[in-house]
Amino acid sequence: MLSLAGVSVAYDGVPVVRDVTLDLPDGGVLAVLGPSGSGKSTLLRAVAGLEPASGGRISWDGQDLARVPTHKRGFALMFQDGQLFNHLTVGRNIGYALRLRRARGIDARVGELLELVGLTGYADRLPATLSGGERQRVALARALAVEPRLLLLDEPLSALDAGLRERLAGDLHRILRAAGTTALMVTHDHDEAFTVADRLAVLRDGVLVQEGDIAAVWRAPADPATALFLGYARVLVGPAAGAVLAAAGRPPAASVAVRRSALSVAADGRLAATVRSARATPEQVRLVVDVDGVGEADAVASLDRHPGPGERVRLDVDVTRLAVIPTGVAEDQSLH
């Protein structure tokens, strides 16, 4: 089990990660989610032993890792852009760690791994001839080769384009489960985190804001900024929050995070609103509406209904797309 207790990391005396405490049980996949510059990659590098922690304790099964150099930690790190060794073939890249350990049956193991990542027959190719997605698969296979006790993934999919990212995220989930690997992944993409991980830690400005089971974090973001970062479109406060919650049949709260699709146009909806603007997407019509007693909000309509600006509509509230935020004030509620 990986344990971080009050870990801080500083560059040239400037703290980048502050007082992070986390536990990752064996077999778990934890995503550290944070905007760029939040210190999440630094945290990962500290766990890998590539950056010294300036405070706190990183330990594995109770053993302090402070004096254990990177290559003796038994972890494997997969970089954002793979960092394949360009002078080695795919097969030799994957077998790299095996050869270091003078393992036997390297070829068979490499073949197995290639099959696992769906690249059977690629052993003799050079990395330069691979596509971005293929390179990441090779990097993953290389990292998995010696069955590391912990796999560290640094934005493994963000260098890829959207469609490929989605597909590979699914593959990554399947491969990690199949191998039973304990993994720590950092990413700024919440969709990627949801697809791959089962636990989520949100890091902002070097501070751990929230950590827990992924669905729990999703349902109850710790604060408005976290909610917005998790993909909620707006955070409503005060009377506006009360009005929306009332329409959903919930008790009032200080603030509530609303997904874009939480309000939808329905003939018998409990809220009344005036359409300000409308934009059609392939799946639905996205509206910005002025809700009576709430103010500006987002809403959706099905494609067969296309309300124009100024039109009065009624809106239904989907309670599963709301998240009540316990801490009251939303300083950046206007962000979306």
Binding site: L77, F85, L100
Partner: protein
Amino acid sequence: MRRTAALLALALGPVLVLGVFFVLPVSGMLARGLWPDGTFDPGAVAEVLTRPRVHRVLWFTAWSAGAATLVSVALGLPAAYALHRLAFPLRRVIRAALLVPFVLPTVVVGVAFKQLLGESGPLGFLGLDGTPVAIVLGLAFFNVSVVIRVVGSAWESLDVRPAEAAAALGAGPVQVFRTVTLPALRPAIVSAASVVFLFCAAGFGVVLTLGGLRYSTVETEIYLLTTNLLDLQAAAALSILQLVVVSVLLVISGRLRAVPDPGVSRVLARPRRPRPGDVPVLLATGVVLLFVGLPVLTLVAGSLQVDGAWSLGNYRALGSTGDQQALLVPVTEALGFSLRTAVDATWMSLLMGVLVATVVTRRSRTRAERRVRSALDGFFMLPLGVSAVTVGFGFLITLDSPPLDLRDSPLLVPIAQALVALPLVIRTLAPVLHGIDDRQRQAAASLGAGPLRTVLTVDLPVVWKPLLAAAGFAFAVSLGEFGATSFLARDDQPTVPVVIFRLIGHPGAMNYGMALAASVVLAAATALVMLLVERLRVPSVGAF
């Protein structure tokens, strides 16, 4: 078609200059050997190559250059790492100091090693004076800086992440170095080693001052054959051999440079604080510093002593012509000639260098265009490897009749020195110009900038620093040039290296003291220029 024509027009000037002042003299020299009496007689050349002395010379050249290359690489690698990847106090100063030996005048280095290893020198007890070991050390002294420079800049820009990836996969420091770092550095190391071998094999001043007549490399042998023995045929034979070997080496090193691992990403790594594991590397760097510093310190100390007592007498004597009229003009006057010559050589090599670098780095649109460019590139690298002695002597025998009667022209020496400096200028400028994305120029043009305006807004801001650095580099090289200058400088207008060589050849204690003092002055001047260049922080200076 029009582009190719414009290309050739731009290149025409430098090509003509190189043709007249390099190809013509060299081929004139070769013709003397191959057509001794007006008839083609290659048999005589072949005969020369069977002489036992020639065999000894060839063997000595090969093994001394090989040994010096090994020593340079072995000493240079740890220093390259320490100076480019570790952060410690005085790092920049040490880096600049270690760049100086490369431009130190060869004669000065010879004198410094004589002073260090001679009977009365601090290391005299080793008995190395006049041995091949001294020559190898002298050659390595120069070229350590080349290795540090070339490998260091590659190391500095080496992405650390593959090494981190290897470490994260369980590779220890030694394994990381062997399996990841070394393969990535190999092109730089091989290219540095081949250039160093080239420089060592063409070593002239050092070998002449340290080896005397006993140990001779191809280069000094050509000198002895032409000036002392007047055996032009043998000299020409050796020149041909040298030309062939050098061309082959240049082609090989060009190949090695042309296919660096295309995937190696270039990111400037942040130097980190030394760790306990870095102690051996830092110690090795200290050894290199000692190796470079000791001869220089001995030289300075020697120049400040007259008859065993501290004195500035040697420096005061620089205003005189030495004991027994060793010189025709005082050293101070020679210094004036040297500086004036260096200024001329600098603008000439810069002018040609800018034209050539521009021509060879513009993007080629057709295969023919690319071929023309790479041929030009190779053509202008030739002076790097061709014996300066051959060029110098060739000047004398081919430029002596109208319309090219230039023997008494004051521009002859600067032109020869400009040619020697030209490859270094091109190598400094070309990577910088190459690094400018052509689309920047296209963007400027699409916004309405004319060709001149484009150069001013896109090229100049990037290039002015390297241009200054190249100027300094050319200036320093010209100050120290000895091989060609020793032939061409007129007796009443010598440069300082020529004067130094004459002084150590003349008997008289005062003359030797003056040679030391003049060496210090010359070394200080070149070092000053190089320190200024280093302050400009142009990475391609001294990269080959």
